[in-house]
Symmetry: C2
């Protein structure tokens, strides 16, 4: 069991919380596999933190769904939402389980990383070189998702972690970037981060 | 609880089973969200079938992992594998939960589909038109993953479902294709399936 964040009840949009939970659960799976693949204990810790946040979201959603239910019809609809929310919560638990293996130091067995081979083509960890073409650019400028189908899921900048960075985040020299995407895209992204290319 | 497939013990490669479980769990999540998004009961049923298969894989993996453990060191390694396998199993449970909502007829609430909006950009359902450029082509010929970052996750051909089709599968007229990928890629794929384009 993870500890819950300290929370107070607040009225929230059930839909927005559900969207956040769904997106967060997917992000957590990719981060958890990344932590296992690159044997990164810090990233595993970030996953455990997100898991706490997920529990908070789940709590907020369930409370607000109950308050929103005024009659049987409402309640029927809201049960569906709460079920989907629980499913995303279960996915995030699975992510935390994988991250926990890394924290326990048992997630790096060659057999496991072999099984992750296909995953390896989808996930990449790369350091931004001094003459990289992506240095000092905002994520929105790079437009990676549309151009090469790659998403940046986390950045380590010195001791600081930026999980699921915003579009306006600037990429800096020496940033360690964790990204996901189709295999061709992530290979291309690795090249972009590591050296200047003449043609983009 | 889903019923287990009838299984006999057989020696299998723990690594191969783990790889299959990991890939299957991801496929199931996408299929489950697709079934909810397109309110497709048949697809939801396919997810429930895959869940049974997942339980079988989990059983085979655990038995084979136990047999493989001859000493403490072996056992320690194998615990890690079995934990990752359990995590993929949990993910597939969550997928089955979502599919089950569709089977119960409560997965289609507008609030939920709004929350899936971002997902909608990643998942697509499209029917292959008579003059489509992808008709009568094998999946490997189309090379969708490398060219536009799109994966075909299921095909409905008349009453038959082909889940996670192989590379040599031929695309036919009137096939209903479920695919996943980056938003730009899936839009492009939709155009390719629906009409002939002059330029690929």
């Amino acid at each position: 069991m993870t500890e819950l964040e300290k929370i107070k009840y607040k009225p929230v949009s059930v839909r927005e919380v559900l969207t956040e939970m769904k997106n967060l659960s997917e992000l957590m799976i990719d981060l958890a596999y990344s932590s296992a693949l690159f044997n990164n204990v810090e990233l595993a810790r970030e996953v455990m933190e997100l898991e706490k946040h997920m529990d908070t979201l789940s709590y907020l959603l369930n409370i607000n769904a109950m308050i929103a239910a005024r009659d049987a019809e409402d309640a029927e609809r809201l049960v569906g939402i709460s079920k989907v929310a629980n499913a995303t919560d279960k996915i995030s638990d699975a992510a935390a389980d994988i991250a926990n293996l890394v924290l326990l130091g048992i997630g790096i067995h060659p057999l496991v990383s072999k099984a992750f081979q296909k995953m390896e083509e989808r996930l990449v960890k790369v350091m931004v070189s001094p003459d990289s073409e992506i240095k000092n650019k905002r994520i929105e400028e790079l437009d990676l998702a549309a151009r090469i189908g790659v998403d940046i899921i986390a950045i380590r900048r010195g001791n600081k972690w930026i999980i699921d960075p915003k579009e306006e985040e600037m990429i800096c020299e020496d940033d360690v970037i964790f990204a996901r995407g189709a295999s061709k895209g992530v290979k291309k992204f690795k090249r972009m981060a590591e050296r200047r290319s003449r043609k983009v």
